[in-house]
């Protein structure tokens, strides 16, 4: 009980500074200290945001962005974990794939967006490819390190009891290296989102990224800030979701 109270009061105290920043911003705007064209008052931005949600204009671009991200990120996680486990447990596959991974990994993935746009054309498949390319390597490498760093006693015990390979992977290797896999997935989450927004901005068709850049170019700054706020909620929401999932999956993490 007292623990809960403490957490609650900590949360309330944490609200003080954002609230005061908002107040200062609002008063400075109302008193005309900041240029209202460049930095509109929070209350005006909030009104734009309410309008956006009210007439439903927010949903189609938001869904576009979320769908691209979800498909790309999901694929990247699956591919990264599979290849990571395969490379860590099988020496032949390791030798086969390690040089290729080390060749593609150092490419700054943002540089690939225009290249792939030109080669594959501007479209959803291209954007998803970009997200997968960006998100797969953090997952792959931390999975690999997680599996390679496992206590050998675990694997030897499995061998002693003649546990089959498939079961060893699913019941021992994956659960034991889960904290590392999740650490990689966390990095991939941020990177994936960055690449989705960038791809949308460069493609100039749809999505939250496109909206933000388009509104800035047509100088509708209030609406632009409203969309950025949508993105804050999206990014923050995804990270919170990840935290919750991580605490569920790895309850012992952070307690050692």
């Amino acid at each position: 009980m007292s623990w809960r109270l403490k957490a609650l009061s900590a949360n309330l105290l944490g609200l003080i500074s954002p609230a005061s920043v908002l107040c200062i911003w609002e008063t400075a705007g109302a008193l005309g200290w900041i240029n209202p064209v460049l930095l509109p008052r929070p209350s005006l931005i909030l009104r734009s945001l309410v309008d956006l949600v009210g007439d439903g204009a927010v949903f189609s671009p938001l869904l576009h962005t979320i769908a691209l991200f979800a498909v790309g990120y999901g694929l990247a996680c699956v591919i990264g974990i599979c290849i990571g486990v395969a490379m860590a447990t099988n020496q032949v596959l390791y030798g086969l794939l390690e040089p290729l991974t080390e060749c593609i990994r150092p490419i700054p993935k943002s540089a690939l967006v225009p290249v792939l746009f030109l080669f594959l054309g501007i479209g959803r498949a291209t954007m998803i490819t970009v997200v997968v390319l960006a998100a797969v390597f953090p997952v792959l490498i931390s999975t690999f390190q997680g599996v390679r760093g496992l206590d050998p006693v675990l694997l030897e015990t499995a061998r002693t009891f003649q546990v089959r390979r498939q079961r060893t992977i699913f019941s021992i290797i994956l659960p034991a290296s889960l904290p590392m896999i999740l650490a990689g997935m966390r990095v991939a989450l941020g990177l994936g989102l960055v690449l989705v927004i960038l791809a949308e901005m460069l493609a100039g068709e749809d999505g939250v990224g496109f909206r933000i850049l388009d509104l800035q170019r047509s100088f509708q700054i209030r609406d632009m800030f409203a969309w950025i706020f949508v993105l804050v909620l999206l990014g923050g929401g995804l990270m919170m979701l990840f935290d919750v999932a991580e605490r569920r999956l790895v309850p012992w993490r952070g307690r050692t």
């Binding site: 150092p106 700054p108 941020g190 950025i228």
Partner: protein, 272 residues
Amino acid sequence: MSTIGTIGEISRTGARTNRAAQLIGVRLYGLLLILVLLSLWELSARLGWVVSAYWPPVTAILRAAVGELAGGDMLDALASTLRRAAIGYIVGSVVGVVLGILLGKSRVLRLALLPLIEIIRPIPTPAVIPPLILFLGVDDALKIFIVSLASFFPVFTNTISGVAAIDDTLIQTARTFRIGWLRTLVSVVLPATLPAVTAGLRTATSLTLVVAVLAEMIAGSSGMGYYLVQMQYALRPDLMYAAVLYLAIVGYCLNRAFIVLEARFVPWIGKT
């Protein structure tokens, strides 16, 4: 904390005997695979297996890359990207370490600043570029700011959790011996947080090039990102792939340099 290094590091530690021979031995098939893929690329482009006008053969890309060495816009663009990335990285990391330690040590500062930082953190970097254009313009200031912002977060979050994880006995011991706060900071807190800081710096290193390039794409007049977009409009895929090749080489060298420096200055990392 996330420590994501290269695959090579771990695998190499075990094998000391005949290292060179073993390195190639294990990777022989991998190197062959790359050769096969590159030849497939070359053949598919030459024989027209791929239905795209923008799929240049490997040799054409290499020719473009070598041609730029003799003098062209690409290396100038690369230099200006690297300059901005370096300044932004240094600024972002220094601010990240300083704020990380300050907020890790002071509850008041943590209450005042941490919520604000946590609100800004989840915004994907490209999204803050359009509003920042209004205040910083499209020149160096914007890109340096963006890079420092992107490298700030991993360094900061790792530093602050590193400070939080310091064994209290260390601090108490320093207090018992009446060591001043400055010396405690330099001789106790900093060395104890260094592995965490390094982990953050490593993530930041891999982010800097990505972010520098994307900032130049969205708001650019120079640099590799701008160059790539220009070449996309000019329909010059050979130059684009050559640019990606140079960026990859730079990225690889940065990563290698980081590992070497890390082994030199934080030799106790990963040995616990």
